[in-house]
Symmetry: D2
Subunit: 336 residues, 4 copies
């Protein structure tokens, strides 16, 4: 029988029960304990996800010896508090993003992780989504060539505060562009504010020499997510997470005939309830949890850690403070 | 606290654990017991979905007094066998489709349901999918007018036998067209067979006077599902389950100006892990289970029963026997 | 210098001046003369398309020795009248569809063509559209396998009469399905009529053994055109004329990984004003006129003739007379 | 009878004969004369577009008294030379873009236009395309609110030189963003160069306070054009010129039900050869020529002039010189 990672789970709110807990079953994980300030939420979670017990507090949860790792999913401040307590109690941590309410909190989590030698994964699940993962793989193929440019847009409904906008929403975008293109070395931004809602048009330069446009806004209806990545000989587009297009060079658009291979697309056949069509998979939740649990069981770091969280929060911090002038990130160190 | 329907679940295979069991949590249901011939599957299901106990056999499961209803998800013959045993033991039944391996089996299930007064829901989940449900609602709005025509296509990869093709796959299509357009009164078909794979091009007449083309095939790559419904003044298209288009009359395509309202579309914003974007919801699994559990708790029939299963299997039966000549279904009775 | 086909053009209405005359310039054609009952239309056409003279009547136009061929674009009866006069005057004919107002007229045109040895092309331009032509070529490639099934839908706004519906609109659809799949051998139809508007759901069997669903309706908003062609190992879809999708077998939709080559698509890059993006090309007007003029200059028949017109009108005739029972077309002869 | 603008046309190359000359027929224009260094091209143009005579040189063409306006379509230097000669000869000018090979040339054309009082329209045809025109109209409607942000991307195949990239291709993009958002006040850019091909990620601030990302590249396959415009309460997307989407606020993506009006789309029904489906219309050629000819006949300026050409070339000039630092355009004057 497969060895299972024994997990305690702090926070049984809607996000935890809609996306994170349902994904545990795809990973080598046994859910030992749950806790939530709202007892009914904890009872619901324990009942439908088969937790063995309900803990009265996160403090008691993290202390127990029969768990190897702690998941924390809640408001930003809770992530910091629980993650630190869990690492200090010797547990590895899977923390929902953001890694704290600001850069300082993220740096504190990073310090505790380094001091205790416990891993603290930050749940940038988009990196594990079916199409984003595939896009990243395609970028290393011969046909793509060297990366040259990215356009990444994550725009959506109004947020109460600029901080909410940045730490709960934009942080995804900032991490995602970095996932594809590598470390930032310079960012500059133009900002529009109308009735307290912000739109940022950000120009980016990456360490590789590639460039990009990063678009973050709370002035668009619903949620609008789109990434376009160019290389020397191809363009990869991921729209609305599930639609992947690969455009290859070869046809200049002028020849009367066309090459059928010009655009290759992938989209799920939603008719069939298999992983590719399952939202927990294409949104990345299954993948991130599998990555975390397998890494911990194997004794190495998961592929996304608090270092990536700090890198993203550094940009968040600059945007929150007004984004005046360029943000120069001269060394790799600044990106984490 | 909400009253919960106490459920025993027979069959812990991949479909059960990928789609049906994960949807139980959206409904007022308590999972009491599970059973499967493969003990490991039963243990996995019990662990991750929180079942209180594992039963050694379906016979013992259906007899217990602490359950109100039985779910059965497995091969076609098992549906009949377990459903009948459960109804005879006084339990209501939620049966995965098909309702048995052939028309006779479905009729037998129907008879037991009538004799015992127990409900036997057949899990035609597509009726409960977000866009199909919305399409059905739109058909009753003024702008749509009387329904005139449907094109329903469900085509996919090779199947081992014509029977598998029909009872596991086409049965969805046959029920779906009937869901939108009402009872069939006449069907005629042209059939192509290549290397044992069948394509049917079926013309249908419905009791309402509307007509339709029903396309079922095992000669297309992957899974291809599409429905187009016309009324006097509008066209509704549902493609790949998640994409809904509403075309309204008013513009003849010749006027140089255009009316922006011409096409309205709905597609999930997959960026956000909410019900509309969750595959368990848009594929209909959550909806069918909510419908079943609420109906049973309220003491009335669920909205899809073994009568609908029989109606669909009547068409399956005709197709399996060669589809020669027209299938005349002169009365409503023939449709169930 | 290239030899030019000398052309007289009868009918300077909106269709002639919007689509046919503007396409002459892509072909080895010299426009010698035009005529129209409305003198202003003739003058406009002569001015903007460089015709050398305006003829007072079609009778005088067809008689002149300095033309090799006559184009006729107008109402259905005019096509018959002018085409016959032109052939009897020794000229080859390019006739807009329909080939007359009914089957009898088409047969009369066919007889004159045979008697005089003059070619009479019927302008089924869709056969020459960029994507339809490409789809036809793809059907003969190894990956496609033997054709098994077609769905062809051409549905649109209201028409004044069933005849208008059939001869001006559906005739395209009937020819297009035959272009892809070959001769029909059996057709049967279900028909819905609401407020004088008709919807036909037609099942077809082709001489090759392939089958199909043909959907013709005047109860849909605007114009809705879509063709889906299946072979043993692939599906080709052409939607809205310009969007071509090729789905190949190989992936069953269940494997967690996906093959990027699964769907290949072609769509014009409309940003560039080149043939592929030019409506005269992708709608087929340029191609049909090039086909006609090159064939006549080379002394052989164009690829679509009055025989194809007769084949389509035979189906039109059956539909107009009520489409009761099946239309059996036992020999190739019945298709022309 | 309508009064016609009498036109002489300089340059009979492929762009002139594919897009510009064929659009003359939609406008109140009479084509009097053509000229080209290649006599065969001039003869072809005269024959198929009905020009009354072929002139031996542009100098003789612009001098004739029987023309009111001169069209010039050719390489960049020719635009400047012919436009200036024509204005000095008292003729109004319709010049293909770019307005000369660099900013100096554009300024010279502007000076001559001011000195002679002759209008010099620059053919930024995208402003007149069906969907872009509609998008602009929608921006002034109540539902849109104040404009906040634009993403405009025009990326395509390799170009021989940075200058060709900028003056023949990017100039469209620079003008288009300004058409939608108004005058620029600041631009800053990140630039990637691989094998002589450039990608620019430009951040823009507009006089209105709105911001934007402008993406210009010669490292993408074929031609990729897309514009996304946000306002306070809506998002308008124009993709591949012909696809217009309007997303309105109101739904946050979280409510389980959806409002069908969420996304409205327009796309041509290409089945029908009417203006909306005609590439000369949706690409903007018909519209720009109608605008020019009607303005000149009415005695006022066309809606796009050499002032707009200068504004675009000012940005081109900055990009060509390296785009170091920000380009500050403090007054409206700098934008023209």
């Amino acid at each position: 029988m497969t060895e299972l990672l024994r997990v305690g789970f702090v926070g049984c709110g809607s996000h935890a029960t809609m996306s994170i807990m349902p994904s545990l079953r795809f990973a080598p994980i046994e859910l030992i304990s749950v806790c939530d300030l709202d007892t009914e939420r904890a009872e619901y979670a324990a009942r439908v996800f088969g937790a063995k017990r309900i803990e009265p507090s996160y403090q008691s949860l993290v202390e127990k010896d029969d768990i190897d790792a702690v998941f924390v999913v809640g408001p930003s401040k809770m992530h910091t508090k629980v993650a630190i307590a869990a690492m200090q109690a010797g547990k590895h941590v899977f923390s929902e993003k953001p890694p704290g309410e600001n850069l300082e909190a993220a740096l504190e989590m990073q310090k505790v992780s380094r001091d205790t030698g416990r891993y603290c994964m930050i749940a940038f699940m988009k990196r594990f989504g079916t199409t984003y993962k595939k896009a990243k793989e395609l970028m290393s193929e011969e046909f793509f060539g060297r990366p040259s440019q990215i356009m990444a847009r994550y725009a959506h409904w109004h947020q109460n505060t600029l901080r909410d906008h940045l730490i709960y929403m934009s942080v995804h975008l900032i991490d995602l562009a970095r996932f594809f293109m590598g470390d930032y070395v310079r960012l500059s931004a133009e900002k529009n504010v109308l009735d307290g809602q912000h739109s940022f048009s950000i120009s980016a330069r990456f360490a590789s020499g590639a460039v990009g446009s990063i678009i973050s806004s709370t002035q668009q209806p619903r949620v609008q997510e789109r990434v376009e990545i160019s290389g020397e000989r191809a363009l990869i587009v991921v729209d609305n997470i599930v639609n992947l297009e690969v455009h290859r060079s070869g046809c200049n658009g002028i020849d009367p005939g066309f090459k059928l291979s010009d655009i290759q697309i992938y989209r799920p056949d939603f008719s069939i309830p298999c992983p590719d069509q399952n939202s927990l998979w294409f949104q990345g939740y299954a993948g991130e949890i599998i990555n975390f649990s397998e890494a911990i069981l194997a004794g190495h770091a998961p592929s996304v850690t608090i270092d990536d969280g700090v890198a993203a929060m550094r940009v968040v911090d600059w945007l929150e403070r007004g984004a005046e002038g360029a943000l120069e990130l001269e060394s790799a160190g600044d990106n984490s």
